[in-house]
């Protein structure tokens, strides 16, 4: 039975979605709308902006002002929207490749500006839409259709990258840890500046199959067994954290927001 949450926030006539059976993206999308619902945001004031890829199809299913842009460019489109009308609540949905490879420059600069946008990265460690090529978050040694002998690249930690660039809120949860994920997205939206939530997804079709990770249930079990909350991690020795996914609210340090700062300039002329 369809939940009231889905009925309220999905464009029901656009379903079913394009995601594969077992994909984690549906769970993350539910977390996004649950966060919006709990914050009681006005649907007319919410803009959801995405780039290109599996994750970026999400806005099409959601009943808000929605913009499916070009590959990697969700953040600068979103920046234009937010700067033009700061009253809008702007949320970016992006994938690991979209956000940190082709869109990596935009990610660090949106973070540097601390503009009031919340970015939810549907991170499945692979380019799914194009058939399983390795991405900037594919772990070293893992396989992709363009890494048949194992990936020799080092991966990005999207939260560390964003924080170093100036994001004032970062957090990570997984498709398994939905309650935490909802909380992080809510807090990300509540942060006036630039927020990044790294939402670890599962891609059984490509990443899972290429790397013999088993089906979706096994991959979800792996997320459950290998995620360590930052609070627990603080008490563990470094060797116990090898290969683990650090989850929780990683950084929360509010700073002046870009459009607020710009408003001070325009207001100075109004006072004349």
């Amino acid at each position: 039975m369809t939940s009231n949450l889905v009925k309220e926030y999905f464009r029901m006539d656009k379903l079913p979605h394009i995601w594969c059976p077992g994909c984690g993206h549906g769970i993350i999308t539910r977390a996004v709308i649950k966060a919006i619902d709990e914050l009681k945001l006005d649907k007319n004031r919410v803009c959801i902006v995405s780039g290109i890829g599996c994750s970026s199809r999400a806005p099409g299913y959601l009943d808000f002002n929605t913009l499916h842009t070009t590959h990697g460019r969700a953040l600068p489109f979103a920046t234009g929207i937010k700067h033009a009308n700061p009253e809008l609540e702007v949320i970016v949905i992006s994938g690991d490749g979209d956000c940190s490879a082709i869109g990596g420059n935009h990610l660090i600069h949106a973070a540097r500006r601390n503009i009031g946008i919340t970015t939810v990265v549907y991170n499945n460690n692979i380019y799914g839409m194009t058939g399983g090529q390795y991405s900037p978050t594919t772990p070293t040694g893992d396989k992709g259709t363009t890494a048949p002998y194992g990936n020799i690249d080092k991966g990005f930690d999207i939260c560390d990258l964003s924080r170093a660039a100036g994001a004032t809120y970062t957090g990570r949860a997984t498709a398994y840890h939905t309650q935490l994920l909802i909380k992080l997205i809510k807090n990300g939206i509540l942060n006036k500046g630039f927020s990044v939530v790294d939402a670890i997804s599962v891609c059984p079709t490509y990443y899972g199959r290429k790397n013999k990770k088993g089906d979706s249930v096994k991959m979800m079990q792996w997320l459950k067994d290998n995620a360590v909350n930052i609070k627990a991690a603080a008490k563990l020795p470094q060797e116990k954290l090898e290969g683990k996914i650090l989850i929780g609210e990683l950084y929360n340090n509010p700073q002046p927001e870009y459009t607020d700062e710009y408003k001070k300039i325009t207001e100075s002329f109004k006072r004349g």
């Binding site: 803009c47 806005p59 009943d63 002002n65 929605t66 499916h68 979103a78 234009g80 700067h83 420059n105």
Partner: protein, 379 residues
């Protein structure tokens, strides 16, 4: 008492002031010679009029931000030069397909690649038409004086808003950096066109519903209660993606017909001495000024020369060129490139008369003497 204001302005400054007069309240840009004064001016002027400026991390981001701002309801512009124009192309195509009004200024430099950053060129003529991939509608305007930069920039916004297309404004470096007298028209007498707002309630609104024969859909801003979807994928009237051949053909045909069915409204040109001309010069921008001098020199020597100066370079004034070709002995196309617009003139002239070029792509301007020599050469 006159309602006009006379000012000494630089071309790039006239562009910015024209844009602000047209209602531009959002500018996103990235520093690049020889367009930088437009961004610098926008950063100073826009906050004074309640507008927004942002310097983006790159040219791609600037184009994206402009489209985002336009969707949020602002008239938006960016300015760049060759290398930046190349980077903007994907998102210009996005604006074309999603029908988001915006203005892109390209103060041209010599190319290809980094080329000649501080030298004049008119080498982005074909890029203005076909820079982004796929069949797409586009309008490109080309003013020839500082004064005209002001008025044509207003035109650029009006056309962008009326037809919901990206409008490319091509400037010559020599005019963009030149200072000339500009007679600013009375602001109240300037015609300003705004995109049409939805005439239906949100529940009945279809974002891409329009007359299939070149109609322009109505456009609310994000945040006004219409909650619609915009995608760079081929989409139906509902705005949602479709792979259907019929839907695709209907959309692409409508997009192209927005321009093709309104050529009389979109195409602007100026003619001088065409009636009795044996030789007609077709020239735009600063080269049209050299062409006018060459024409005057030739006429003094008894050679009947005329000038056709396209202000709208795309769509192309093919029908008028065809008429001219039927009467004239020859058409000469002087341009600071190796013959890009001449190709289009030859196509329209269809062997009805001789078509020749005066071309250079070395960073120097074409002089009246260069053109006069060619006039004598074709006689």
């Amino acid at each position: 008492m006159t309602s006009r204001t006379t000012k000494l302005m630089q071309g790039n400054e006239a562009c910015l002031e024209g844009a602000i007069t047209a209602g531009m309240r959002f500018f996103a840009g990235y520093p690049i010679t020889p367009s930088t004064e437009i961004a610098e001016g926008a950063s100073e002027r826009l906050p004074m009029v309640g507008g927004k400026f942002i310097q983006m991390e790159d040219e791609i981001g600037s184009m994206a931000a402009v489209i985002g701002a336009s969707l949020a309801g602002q008239k938006a512009m960016t300015a760049t030069s060759g290398p930046g124009m190349s980077l903007k192309q994907e998102n210009i195509g996005y604006a074309s397909l999603t029908e988001v009004p915006c203005v892109i200024v390209n103060v041209q430099r010599g190319g290809p690649s980094t080329g000649l950053p501080t030298s004049p060129a008119q080498a982005d003529i074909m890029q203005a038409r076909w820079g982004t991939h796929g069949d797409h509608p586009i309008i490109a305007l080309y003013p020839a004086s500082v004064s005209e930069i002001y008025t044509v920039t207003i035109d650029a916004f009006n056309l962008a808003e009326k037809y919901r297309v990206p409008v490319i404004l091509l400037l010559d470096e020599v005019i963009a950096h030149m200072r000339e007298k500009v007679e600013l028209p009375d602001a109240k007498k300037i015609k300003i066109i705004d995109r049409s707002k939805p005439s239906v309630e949100p529940e009945k609104y279809l974002p891409y519903k329009a007359d299939p024969d070149g109609g322009v859909p109505e456009m609310p801003a994000f945040g006004q209660g219409y909650r619609y979807h915009v995608t760079g994928l081929i989409h139906s009237e509902s705005g949602f993606p479709s792979n259907n051949a019929e839907v695709t053909a209907k959309l692409i045909n409508r997009l192209m017909k927005k321009i093709d069915n309104n050529l009389d409204d979109i195409i602007r040109y100026q003619e001088d001495g065409i009636q009795d001309a044996q030789i007609v010069l077709v020239a735009f921008g600063s080269t049209a000024r050299s062409a006018k001098s060459a024409m005057d020199m030739a006429r003094k020597q008894g050679i009947p020369v005329g000038l056709f100066r396209p202000i709208t370079i795309w769509p192309f004034a093919g029908d008028r060129i065809k008429e001219i070709a039927e009467k004239a002995k020859a058409i000469i196309v002087p341009e600071m490139n190796l013959g890009q617009y001449r190709l289009e003139v030859e196509r329209a002239a269809a062997c009805k008369c001789k078509v020749a070029g005066v071309n250079r792509a070395d960073g120097d301007i074409i002089t009246p003497e260069d053109i006069l020599d060619k006039i004598k050469g074709v006689l």
